[in-house]
């Protein structure tokens, strides 16, 4: 078969000069591709938004919290309040070899935070420098609390993004400035831009983080706190770790071993797995629905081309009469089909990319998301879709082309 530009010009002419037929035929493919990519891109964007919520969190973190007992045990009635303390941390560190970082978290709600004229009511969190290993802060200014801050109980703080934007509305670097938290002054050493996410003791963008020891003293906590954050050693089984901690704490505090409400354990790995599976599911669904739409589009193209071929009996008969071989007709119809599918598909890709881009910039410009949320599809997804288009083109063109091939020149003469 000759492979020259002429053949393609012939196809382009045929498609271009029968515009409404071309439009009608291509729409199914356009729509299929458009929907598939919009859904894939939308899924990517959603995932990016959700992942942002977990950003910084170690995937093997375990959070343990103390809460009222719900079962009588060891001579105690139910509904008893209990708290954790420093000895629990040491006990975990020595008795549970699967644990890596073990650190406390304490929180005070509704503290007035003031800088100059501006004030904000946020959460005061007491943490140690070790907490950085559980949930990495995203610092837009300065640094996080370090070991020296904790040991010397320095009056320093890391403020959340929303606290910062309320106290420093001009957006300046607040490090080095002194802010008043409840009754004491703290020097700002950093701003954490994390927002949302797995919120332990309140959202981090509304928090002021100070060294735990300092908080314990300032607010007369008597060494008690409600939350221990820890991570599992690399390779350690998080389930085993959780079981050991539950056993240890229930012994130390005389709590029914099966009282899951009294010793609340949150395993981020589980959350991550759930979210991951959710997105795998969503992706599979999107791909199935998208492929279905695409296939329906291809069948549509095939159908319309079938009708078209019938309509074109005379044209094809004329071509045959003046010397086109059946193979030339076959390749013409298939090439037309491929051309049409690619044209329509490219338009579908173009439009969906534009819309995804618009969605991405709208979401990224929203105050709560900072920037960089992308709804875009990957380059290779694009290439794959393109290959699929060619394949679909051949598929869609096959039946009509075979039919066209069987048109005899006399059929055309008769069909008047």
């Amino acid at each position: 078969m000759r492979f020259d530009i002429d053949r393609y010009k012939e196809i382009v002419d045929t498609l271009a000069r029968n515009r409404s037929r071309t439009l009608l035929t291509g729409f199914g493919i356009f729509w299929g591709i458009f929907m598939l990519l919009i859904m894939l891109g939308g899924g990517n964007g959603l995932k990016a938004i959700l992942s942002r919520n977990f950003a910084g969190f170690t995937s093997n973190a375990v959070i343990v919290g103390s809460s009222r007992t719900t079962k009588p045990y060891g001579g105690f009635k139910r509904d008893r309040y209990w708290s954790l303390d420093k000895t629990d941390i040491e006990a975990i560190k020595t008795l549970v070899p699967e644990s890596d970082i073990v650190t406390m978290m304490d929180a005070e709600w509704g503290g007035a935070i003031v800088y100059g004229e501006n004030s904000y009511s946020g959460i005061i969190k007491g943490l140690t420098h070790e907490y950085e290993g559980v949930e990495a802060p995203q610092l837009m200014f300065g640094r996080f609390i370090n070991e020296v801050d904790c040991e010397q109980e320095r009056k320093v703080c890391v403020i959340g993004k929303r606290v910062w934007s309320n106290l420093f509305p001009d957006g300046e670097d607040p490090t080095g400035k002194y802010i008043k938290v409840k009754d004491s002054y703290f020097q700002v050493i950093g701003v954490d831009s994390r927002s949302g996410g797995i919120n332990i003791s309140g959202s981090s963008d509304q928090s002021v983080v100070i060294p735990y020891q300092l908080m314990n003293k300032l607010y007369n906590k008597g060494g008690k706190f409600d939350i221990i954050c820890l991570t599992a050693k690399p390779g350690a089984d998080s389930e085993v770790l959780q079981e050991k901690i539950r056993g240890l704490l229930s012994r130390r505090h005389t709590i029914a071993p099966d009282d899951k409400s009294a010793i609340m354990i949150l395993d981020t790995k589980k959350v991550f797995t759930i979210v991951d599976n959710l997105f795998k599911g969503v992706n599979i669904l999107v791909i199935l629905v998208g492929l279905g739409t695409l296939l329906a589009g291809a069948i549509g193209v095939s159908n319309i081309m079938m009708v078209t071929v019938k309509e074109r009996t005379t044209e094809i008969g004329i071509r045959r009469a003046i010397g086109a071989t059946p193979r030339m007709i076959l390749s013409q119809i298939i090439t037309e089909s491929i051309g049409l599918t690619i044209l329509a598909g490219m338009l579908g890709i173009l439009f969906s990319v534009l819309i995804l881009w618009a969605a991405g910039s709208v979401v990224s410009s929203m105050p709560d998301f900072s920037s960089g949320i992308s709804f875009q599809i990957g380059f290779w997804t694009g290439i794959l879709v393109l290959l699929m288009l060619v394949f679909l083109g051949v598929l869609a063109g096959l039946a009509p082309a075979l039919r066209a091939m069987n048109i005899k020149p006399v059929d055309a003469m008769r069909d008047e």
Binding site: R2, I5, D6, K9, E10, D13, T14, R17, N18, T314, E315, G317, I318, R319, R320, A321, I322, G323, A324, T325, P326, R327, M328, K408, P409, V410, A412, M413, E416
Partner: protein
């Protein structure tokens, strides 16, 4: 003998079998200008389609230039049609979304002639047939006579041995019919083209040098018409 038919039979197997050609014996020399006449349904178009390798026959022998036309593959048939035969039909058979010159180029496209060359050749024939100003027009922008000239250009552009015309004036008024027949006559005289015209109009038949009558599926009378007076209406040109 350019065209030779020996006992050619053709039956259409429709709702009930119809034996249309019942043993056609016919010879046509190179350079002849003949017409085939017969009543409607007598099998003229059927015969012409067989001559043009557009359709198969059931038994007998059909030779072009000694070559037996039997059991050809579709692509071989297409090649023969493309190289040896030019068609002219009553309904012009032009492709509606192609301009006049593009229609004329099409047979050359299927021959693999380069774009530039085939445009040149197509324009040459378009101009020869007086359609220079219409080259870029689509068929629906042209009169019947103009369309038939485009069709004739298409038939001529591959320089075929044989021109087959099925009712070429069937859709034209008498004045235009005269022009078309004059054109065919001139082509036969100047280019020594073999031309076979199917018609049921005696005026049209009278233009040709030989009139072959077909009746009941066989060749009947063959009139020599060198003096163009075989038909009653001969001297008055084409009558409608």
């Amino acid at each position: 003998m350019l065209i030779e038919l020996k006992d050619v039979n053709k039956t259409y197997f429709g709702a009930q079998p119809l034996h249309v050609l019942k043993g056609i014996n016919l010879g046509i020399e190179r350079g002849e200008f003949v017409s085939i006449m017969g009543s409607s349904g007598s099998g003229k178009s059927t015969l012409l389609n067989i001559l043009g390798i557009l359709d198969n026959y059931d038994s007998g022998e059909y030779r072009i230039g000694g070559k037996l036309i039997w059991d050809l593959s579709e692509s071989k048939a297409a090649e023969y049609r493309n190289k040896m035969i030019g068609f002219i039909f009553q309904s012009y058979n032009l492709i509606s979304f192609k301009t006049a010159v593009e229609n004329v180029e099409l047979p050359l496209f299927y021959q693999g002639v380069s774009r530039h060359k085939r445009h040149e050749m197509a324009m040459e024939y378009i101009e020869r047939l007086g359609l220079k100003d219409w080259a870029g027009h689509y068929p629906n922008e042209m009169s019947g006579g103009q369309k038939q000239r485009v069709a004739i250009s298409t038939a001529l552009v591959t320089k075929p041995d044989i021109i087959l015309a099925d009712e070429p004036t069937g859709a034209l008024d008498s004045k235009t019919s005269v022009e078309i027949m004059d054109l065919l006559k001139e082509l036969n005289e100047r280019e020594k083209l073999t031309i076979i015209v199917v018609t049921h109009e005696s005026g049209v038949a009278n233009y040709t040098n030989k009139i072959i009558h077909i009746k009941d599926g066989v060749i009947g009378q063959i009139d020599e018409n060198r003096s163009h007076d075989a038909m009653r209406f001969g001297s008055e040109g084409v009558l409608k």
